[in-house]
Amino acid sequence: MKHIRPTLLQVLVHAGGIIPLVILAFQYYSNDLGANPILELEHRTGRLALLFLVLSLACTPLSIVSGSKEPIKRRKALGLYGALYAFTHFAIFVSLDYGFDPGLIFAELTRRPLIIVGAVALLILIPLTITSTKFWFQKLGPNWKRLHRLVYILSPLVIIHYFMVVKGNLFRLQGNYQQPMIYAGLVIILLILRIPAVKNVFLRKINPDNDSPENS
């Protein structure tokens, strides 16, 4: 049976995924992104990619806690919007920022820690994005789940990438670390919830009946 009527959460996910991109394109073309529009594009697409990554990580715990399958059904779309913003982030870096200059881009990708960390995260994201379809889910069988556990490596890399871009001194906490700190906290919590012991003891206690096969 196919759902014709989209759920409220479904509508919110797609609106939340598409509207920021439309706003960003609109602001860019109407010259409304401030004096350094390219940097603003990079920062905003990067933050949106991270936001959707965190939201996609929150789906499974939310489903367990709420006992509803609805959050986990939205996980794929959230992950793909995260990928959309991540690839847009990279595309802006390569095109508007570095003007497709192969020498400069190669040097950045191989020698600059900030960019290396981001590039590794992006490389991990590629197979995750490609195998997000039903076809690959069925074809890979149990390996699909193993492959997609790479998100547990990807997420910390994205957080590190975010911290590295901030100007200041992390060890003395001098600088604008509030936002990266918030995201780091969220990612850490969401990853801890996936440690089997924690998941079983804590989350199942909240909702002992729920045993979603898609939990991961």
């Binding site: 073309y29 004096a35 350094n36 940097l39 920022d97 570095y98 600059r112 001098q174």
Partner: protein, 319 residues
């Protein structure tokens, strides 16, 4: 022409009336808009009229360039994209936060190892040291840059008048602290006041100026008014804003960013495409208003005038 800066006053023929300038900008905006997005163009609301009119008669100019032929960065961008942590770390938000900052009256105290210590008010500085137009590239350590038509006078003129003693080796600049007007000062993570410094011979170089205005008009608060330092061959953080104290000292002074993160921000902070910041490259920069990147020039393009200051120094150590 071997001149390295715009010494003469601007030829009146080069100055475009403000209306023409503004309409040209709107024209560029709207054509860029159409070229950029035919699809979106239909939904674009009418362009808001330009409300950011300069207050004290700067002369917006087109066709004005630095000595390398780089066009000056538009006034709006120069005055709305500022690193000024006393107000906020958000560059786009300095201008609104600084709108009530009083830049007049302004007083600067010169003291320390000088034979003739003196307090100058703004008018005395103008009268005594006769500011001139200087178009300089400004390269931020964050790898963006602008070309700014300053009005200012060489630091050397002031130093000659106060006559440093033979013990004086460094100049220390101190920025004003007005917590009521500068909300960023409440962030105690920074060792306020903002302090910067130069070696005395660096300060004596003719390129190093105290800026008292920009674009032929007054120096807006967000750009460092009352008066500020401009050292164009160094990263922007060396050019401290809103100076109230100038002290001649014998030891290298503690400077803000160098104190915070010495491995990232050196005392010298000379623009150098070959010495990278630990977290980003310095070989390219984004000129505000352009897409793509420019190659960063050694000493920001002022090598001929300043390289002698660093003869024999290892620039990878003294960065």
């Amino acid at each position: 022409m071997t001149k390295t800066y715009q010494k003469d006053s601007i030829d009146p023929a080069e100055i475009t009336p403000k209306e023409v300038y503004l309409s040209r900008r709107n024209f560029i905006r709207s054509t860029g808009l159409i070229a950029g997005s035919m699809v979106l163009a239909a939904c674009v609301p009418a362009m808001p009229s330009d409300s950011s009119k300069p207050t004290a008669g700067p002369t917006p100019t087109i066709g004005l360039t630095d000595e390398l032929g780089n066009p000056v960065t538009p006034y709006d961008q120069v005055t709305s994209y500022n690193n000024y942590y006393e107000f906020t770390t958000d560059k786009e938000n300095v201008k609104p936060l600084a709108k009530d900052f009083q830049t007049s009256p302004w007083e600067v105290e010169v003291f320390g190892m000088v034979n003739k210590p003196k307090k100058y008010n703004f008018d005395e500085l103008i009268k005594t040291f006769k500011p001139e137009d200087r178009i300089y590239r400004m390269r931020c350590v964050e790898a963006w840059s602008m070309v700014i038509p300053w009005v200012g006078f060489p630091i050397s003129r002031l130093l000659e008048e106060v006559a440093p003693t033979s013990d004086a080796k460094f100049v220390r600049f101190e920025t004003i602290m007005r917590p009521d007007e500068m909300p960023g000062l409440s962030d105690k993570n920074y060792p306020w006041p903002y302090q910067e410094g130069l070696r005395l011979d660096e300060a004596m170089n003719d390129l190093a100026i105290f800026a008292t205005g920009l674009y032929g008009g007054e120096l807006p608060a967000q750009n460092g008014g009352g008066i500020r330092v401009v050292v164009p061959w160094k990263y922007g953080f060396k050019s401290s804003k809103a100076i109230i104290k100038i002290e001649l000292v014998s030891e290298r002074p503690d400077t803000m960013w160098n104190t915070l993160a010495p491995n990232e921000y050196g005392f010298y902070a000379n623009v150098n495409p070959n010495v990278n910041h630990p977290r980003w490259f310095q070989n390219t920069e984004r000129r505000i208003g352009e897409t793509g990147r420019r190659k960063t020039l050694m000493y920001n393009g002022y090598e001929d005038q300043v390289a002698y200051l660093y003869d024999g120094m290892d620039l990878t150590v003294s960065y």
